[in-house]
Symmetry: C2
Subunit: 334 residues, 2 copies
């Protein structure tokens, strides 16, 4: 790609910043964001690499939206209200202006959908694959956030939505896909992988009602283990209660051996949370009013950070992280 | 590189977060930063790619420090006090633990030197070159920042430090280096390229006294043009007054034809600022007390965003951006 980066930014990215006067239309060295009294800032950053976190020939608008959404999902898991993002793009020379226009269009539509503005960033060239990094900035009342380490013995453990769709959605694009799978189920699963829905409204409801939360990105069991470890409790999960979509059920009917992918696959970006048993019905009703289903899948016990599963009444420790690696090595810092 | 990313983060990056309780030791989905009353936030992000912005075999600690410093330089140019950074690293599989340990050590030492903590980020694998992205977060009293668009007709235009060192420092590592150049000059120039010094104290002094500022990253003339364009004034620069280091003079004594590199090379990360003529002596004295030399190199006139140079009394427009491209395409958003 041979372009004038300043022109590119003016054409494609400047319009995405116009909701925030302090972004100075992306013409300055940095942006200024005023802090509302009593509100603290919640910040997170994630990187995505072509061929590792998405497919290089995925539609550019979807790549942009996914990069945004995985970051907003981290804010959702903390119960924060998203406000602005900064994005750096390392772009291969092979990309053309049409690709970039579609990328910026998808980003802009998604930013608008979530009420977030682009406050800054950087565009550079790379001889390697497309590499995106987004920092998401949210706000929380008086610094009150949903931490991972708040699970208490006796808590119910629950998830939003359905689990495992994204893992099958990834597989559905490769040679592992069962050819008999009906097209609507296949499309649904691929959509869940390509375009996760950050549970922002759910996170804000849970903030103050739930004891702990995180988003399912590394894999259900790996992520629940993070809750158990940081909270110093044992968690017991009933795999039979993990909620599945109709499409995931259709996949499993054809491929029963893939059942464990539900628990080890990642990228669903649903929330796992814990709460007092007496609060669960109220929380579930409030989430339901936002169109989000909550399903209890286990409980926490006094312990030392271990994860157990109960299959047909038999309790077994879950060994190893069982974590999804996005096709490569992957981890999360903050 | 085959590693456990969570272990890697715990070993190498967690210690860098411990100055900020709201970073939760990098164990949560996001960090919480409390806002001091009356202070707004200044945010900026830059990406650096191996082979484009630094050499892949540069010492890892220096790569980390440079990535940090180019971001802190953007905060300096706004007159903000740096507080925290988030960093995402896309790491090639070929890097080993020793490389990463040295990288984290260099980052940690530099974070400490600038009083900044690591508040979060992400570590992912890439089949391509090392790609780093840093978001820097600073604070400014009541949102008062140094903008680019504040140059007024009649202002003096000045720079901190010396200009052109980084361009020669880049050249000094390639076949263009004059073999007769003395080793101390060569080392000085390479050091200026590899490890820029963000002018944070200078920026904070200038904030409120100067009318506008930015940092010299794309090239002196290209950056001054940004000031002229965003401020809608003409700027006239006297190239003979641009301050040079002894090492840059030594280079030019051997290679007089390289003189234009002073004005078109980038990466010096000095500040260019404008101020009222009657304020310059006071500003220069305050900067001098911090060990920073300020040199007047031009003036602003009523106009329409053009840049002129005066050589031997003859005024000529400077055509084209004359911008440095870090060996590749590059630009800056925010």
């Amino acid at each position: 790609m041979s372009w004038d980066e300043f022109g590119l930014i003016a054409d494609h990215f400047r319009p995405l910043s116009l909701g925030e006067p302090g972004a100075f239309a992306l013409t300055d060295d940095a942006a200024v964001l005023s802090a509302a009294p009593g509100r603290d800032w919640v910040v997170t950053a994630d990187a995505l690499v072509a061929g590792v976190h998405f497919l290089a020939d995925d539609p550019p608008g979807l790549i942009a939206a996914k990069a945004l959404r995985v970051n907003l999902s981290d804010l959702a898991a903390m119960g924060a209200a998203p406000r602005a993002v900064l994005m750096t793009c390392a772009l291969p020379e092979t990309l053309d202006r049409a690709w970039l226009a579609a990328f910026a269009k998808g980003l802009g539509e998604d930013l608008q959908a979530f009420g977030v503005v682009l406050a800054g960033g950087d565009v550079v060239a790379t001889p390697g694959p497309l590499c995106l990094s987004i920092t998401a900035i949210g706000e929380a009342e008086g610094g009150r956030v949903l931490r991972r380490n708040g699970v208490r013995a006796g808590d119910i453990l629950a998830v939003t939505g359905t689990i495992g769709d994204a893992a099958f959605g990834l597989d559905a694009q490769g040679p592992e896909a069962p050819p008999e799978l009906d097209a609507p189920s296949r499309d649904f699963l691929i959509g869940r992988y390509r375009l996760p829905c950050p549970r922002i409204a759910a996170g804000r409801i849970l903030n103050g009602l739930a004891h702990a939360a995180l988003d399912v990105s590394d894999g259900l069991f790996a992520d629940i283990r993070h809750l158990a470890e940081t909270s110093c409790v044992d968690i017991v999960v009933d795999p039979a209660r993990v909620p599945l979509s109709d499409a995931a059920r259709a996949w499993l009917a054809l491929r029963p051996a893939d059942r464990e992918r539900i628990f080890t696959g990642g990228d669903d970006y649903e929330l796992v949370f814990s709460c007092a048993p007496e609060d669960f019905a109220d929380i579930a009703a409030r989430l339901d009013a936002e169109g989000v289903r909550a399903t209890a899948i286990g409980r926490a016990e006094t312990g030392q950070g271990r994860l157990y599963r109960v299959d047909s009444g038999e309790r077994k420790p879950v060994e190893g992280a069982g974590g999804h690696r996005h096709g490569g090595e992957n981890g999360r810092e903050g």
